[in-house]
């Protein structure tokens, strides 16, 4: 279910209305059911992965923290995993829906055999084995036990991510490398669909066990709370990647919704939809015409398309985050701010403090710091920075252009760090210096987006050649952005400049009520105009 669909609007109204009728625990159960329904709307089979991830991390965190799992907790884990295997994989829901209720009498028509049965048997076996293994785990010395179960969580979560997202990529890359050496390997391929949001919920759930392992928080003994933390629908498929230390307490304590939260929630929904529907989808035609075409664009077309892609990906992704935060607010939750005016940055460090904050802080806390951070001298710091950015690039997608994008940002960060070390501290750069730094930063960010958006390494080579070597060609034949985007971009810029100059995220709220009403009405109007754009899926769903 996509945030920019009518189905989501109906779903949201129903969930918000139902939540208001229930007590705290009832709300949590309803939100978990709603989150699973939200995810199953795409593909019910992959819901099993979310349940398995929750079960494994619930179990591992308890073993890390307490060193034991009660039989009740063990049964809870087992029943959820086996139940999910039965309902998500063993039952062929599409066949059942087509055949009608009478088909229930004929299981042969709706049971997915032998695949569903095999998965259910494997899950059941794993749960039994997990139960058996818990006993010796309980007798291990504490440091070993904590390490063992943290490793189990890491291996299972990254194993799922690796299998579904990266396996085919690495196999095909290895095949290509072997072929270039004259070998003809016949590779094994899984050929599986990438489950929506797997990169996001894997990182989110991993942060829970790692925080418990590092002693930053206690493991929860309420499975439903953890399951809701992993699957909370507003941020399930494209973040923000919430930390358990932040979101779990919100789940565990009764929530309160006041008028201010509703206003803020609706405002975030409006801004998010405006960014996505009016701007991101409106400029997509120009970007796709240049990057999706086999033809060679002119220099001007390439520059315009890349600039518009910078806008598209920002509006697409930050729009999603705004909608997620707005939805959460209507349900009484506060999610973290994922984008903090990134295009006002003047250096790569600042850019990464402002762009996809939940991922950059995740990578910093769990990868960069784990690699040693800046504790081992300049060489090691630069190596850690480079590795973090390379893996951050790969997180975005199983393709070499993402690796290249990560490498580019890594190299830029390293270069900036080295320069900053050599430059004597100065009191300020002045307006011209700030503008120059901003311009240079945006040019580098823009080139990074070229690497990110390119459809192949060959296109990167060809487009880089045009960008750096073909200034003379100012012809422009590409499609122009849609009118809602043209009307919406100045509005967006004005809002962001207002936020920037006032230095606060809720700058709109400081405006006089009539002016605020005019801003809301303008956003709403341009959003309505944008509904006639060709609707596109959120870009980050592919990650």
């Amino acid at each position: 279910m996509s945030f920019n669909s009518v189905a989501y609007l109906v779903f949201l109204v129903l969930v918000v209305a139902a939540v208001r009728l229930l007590g705290h625990r009832g709300q949590n159960r309803l939100l978990l059911a709603a989150s699973y329904f939200f995810y199953a709307w795409w593909d019910v089979r992959f819901l099993l992965l979310i349940v398995l991830s929750s079960v494994v991390d619930f179990f591992c965190a308890l073993m890390i923290d307490r060193g034991r799992v009660t039989s009740r907790e063990r049964w809870t884990c087992g029943l959820w995993a086996v139940g999910a295997a039965c309902l998500c994989v063993a039952v062929d829901w599409s066949a059942l829906a087509q055949a009608g209720p009478l088909a229930l009498l004929d299981p042969g028509r709706w049971l997915s055999l032998p695949f569903g049965a095999a998965v259910t048997a494997a899950v059941t076996g794993s749960m039994l084995l997990g139960g058996v293994l818990a006993r010796p785990g309980e007798t291990l010395p504490e440091p070993r036990r904590r390490r063992a179960f943290a490793a189990l969580s890491l291996v299972s979560n990254l194993g799922l991510l690796g299998a579904f997202k990266y396996f085919d990529f690495f196999v095909s890359s290895a095949e290509a490398a072997a072929a270039s050496l004259g070998f003809e390997p016949s590779g094994l391929r899984l050929d599986v669909v990438l489950p929506v949001g797997i990169s996001f919920y894997t990182f989110q759930t991993l942060s829970y066990t790692l925080d418990v392992y590092r002693g930053r928080m206690r493991a929860t003994d309420r499975y439903l709370d953890l399951a809701l933390y992993v699957a909370f629908f507003p941020q399930l498929v494209a973040g923000p990647i919430e930390r358990a230390a932040h979101l779990l307490p919100e789940i565990q304590r009764p929530r309160r919704i006041d008028g201010d939260q509703v206003v803020r929630g609706l405002q975030l929904l409006l801004v998010g939809l405006f960014k996505k529907v009016a701007i991101a989808d409106g400029v997509a035609v120009t970007v796709d015409a240049v990057y999706g075409s086999g033809a060679s664009p002119s220099w001007l077309e390439l520059v315009v398309a890349t600039g518009l892609f910078a806008l598209q990906i920002y509006c697409d992704f930050s729009g999603y985050s705004d909608i997620a935060r707005g939805t959460a607010k209507l349900l009484g939750f506060d999610l973290m701010r994922n984008f903090d005016l990134p295009y006002f940055s003047r250096s790569p460090r600042e850019f990464w403090r402002r762009w996809h904050v939940s991922l950059s802080t995740w990578l910093r806390d769990y990868l960069y710091v784990s690699l040693g951070g800046n504790r081992g001298g300049r060489g090691r710091t630069l190596r850690n920075l480079m590795l973090t950015m390379l893996l951050g690039g790969l997180w975005h997608g199983a393709a070499w252009n993402f690796v290249l994008w990560g490498a580019f940002h890594g190299a830029w960060l390293c270069g900036h760090r080295l320069l900053a070390e050599r430059r004597p501290p100065s009191p300020g750069r002045g307006v011209a210096g700030e503008l120059l730094a901003w311009g240079a930063c945006m040019l580098a960010v823009g080139y990074g987006w070229l690497l990110f958006r390119a459809e192949s390494l060959a296109q990167i080579a060809s487009f880089s050649g045009i960008l750096f070597g073909d200034f003379g060609d100012l012809s422009f034949d590409a499609r122009l952005p849609r009118f809602p985007a043209v009307a919406g971009i100045p509005l967006l810029v004005a809002l962001e400049v207002l936020e920037w100059t006032r230095g606060e995220a809720r700058a709109i709220d400081r405006l006089a009520a009539p002016l605020r009403g005019l801003v809301h009405a303008s956003l709403l109007f341009v959003l309505v105009l944008g509904t006639s754009n060709d609707p596109a899926e959120f870009i980050y769903f592919a990650f």
Partner: protein, 371 residues
């Protein structure tokens, strides 16, 4: 959870927002009102903000008591003989071949290009703006026997193929309402069945505009036979008076259209050969080929690949075309469908490409006539 709604702040915010929205609506409605006369060309923004007006209101705006007062587009595209007046029916002196071309504006441009590159080839252009393949086929059928052409060209525009089941230009193209109509073709018992619209002439349409009974009959026909018809998009209502609500309707119409188009065409994989539109298209092409040959004419199918649709139209049709040995001219052999530099801003081909296509068409016709 304790509820503290409705709060004053919320009500005030919503109130000011609603008021500002009304103000925007009023200002835009005055600033970008359509010209009084449909013969006056509206500006880009006037046209844009008017786009969500209901089909009925748009058609009534275009249609005035006399042709002189009505929009110039009104007489275009009618399938009766009246719309072909002035088109040559026989070769003139010094002309060696007459080619009749049926289709949309691309077809008209091809006809003009033929006249540019080969003055000894006469062209009978039977075209309608934005014509769908069912219109092109119906135009060919209704024109049979009305001319002595040597070759006939059936034009198919890839973008319009998903709209093959539309029975009126006004439902096939929502943004630019045009009144002409066409039959719907259905596959029944292995053959094609045509369902004719209640009127196929400008006179018939004018009668429907005048008489509510006839209008209702047309609307009922659309509701029954046209999958692109939706009452919320077609029927005039109070929504027509508000710029904001028109924009809502435009968005709704666009969302409504998406799934219908997706039944026949997927941008990632191309046309779906098992869709109803493509199956009917196969049958239309086969029948066109058989009829033309039976009439002693050279049949040519002209495939116009719109920007961004690749050669998917050619790929889906080529098994049928090759099996029947149907002479084919596909634009992708001349203009790359993924290269915007081959297209004009209004989505037509550059003249130089139309000229190349015209030369190829003449080659095909000469080759087929000689064989």
């Amino acid at each position: 959870m304790r509820s503290e709604l409705p709060r004053q702040g919320l009500v005030r915010t919503l109130g000011w927002t609603a008021l500002a929205l009304v103000a925007i609506d009023v200002v835009l409605s005055f600033a970008f009102a359509m010209p009084e006369s449909p013969r006056e060309e509206p500006g880009l923004l006037q046209r844009y903000f008017d786009n969500g007006r209901s089909t009925e209101a748009k058609l009534r705006y275009l249609t005035r008591p006399t042709d002189a007062e009505s929009a110039p587009i009104l007489p275009r595209g009618w399938l009766d003989a009246g719309s072909r007046i002035g088109e040559p029916a026989t070769r003139g002196p010094g002309e060696r071949v007459l080619v009749a071309i049926y289709g949309m504006s691309h077809a008209r441009r091809l006809g003009r290009a033929v006249q540019r590159v080969a003055p000894d080839v006469a062209v009978r252009n039977v075209t309608a703006p934005g014509a769908t393949p069912n219109w092109s086929y119906a135009a060919w059928e209704s024109d049979r026997g009305a001319h002595r052409a040597d070759a006939v060209v059936l034009s198919i525009l890839s973008l319009n193929v998903p709209m093959l089941a539309a029975t009126a230009a006004a439902t096939a193209q929502v943004d630019v309402a045009m009144p002409y109509t066409m039959p719907r073709y259905r596959l029944e018992a292995g053959g094609l069945r045509a369902v004719a619209p209640p009127f196929e002439s400008l006179a018939g349409y004018r009668a429907a505009v005048r008489e509510p009974e006839r209008w209702r009959a047309w609307r009922d026909h659309l509701q029954e036979h046209d999958p692109f018809f939706h009452p919320a998009v077609f029927d005039a209502s109070l929504l027509d008076h508000s710029t904001v609500l028109r924009a809502v309707r435009r968005g709704f119409a666009s969302r409504l259209r998406g799934p219908r188009v997706a039944e026949a065409y997927d941008p990632a994989t191309g046309f779906r050969s098992d869709s109803e539109a493509i199956q009917v298209l196969f049958a239309l092409v086969r029948r066109f080929d058989a009829q033309a040959r039976a009439d002693g004419l050279v049949p040519v199918v002209y495939l116009v690949n719109s920007l961004g649709t690749g050669d998917s139209l050619y790929r889906v049709l080529s098994p049928v075309l090759e099996a029947g040995g149907v002479p084919t001219l596909s634009s992708h052999t001349v203009v790359r469908p993924d290269d915007p530099s081959g297209y004009l801003p209004d989505s037509h081909f550059l003249d130089v490409h139309d000229d190349s296509l015209a030369r190829r068409l003449i080659e095909i016709v000469d080759r087929e006539r000689g064989s």
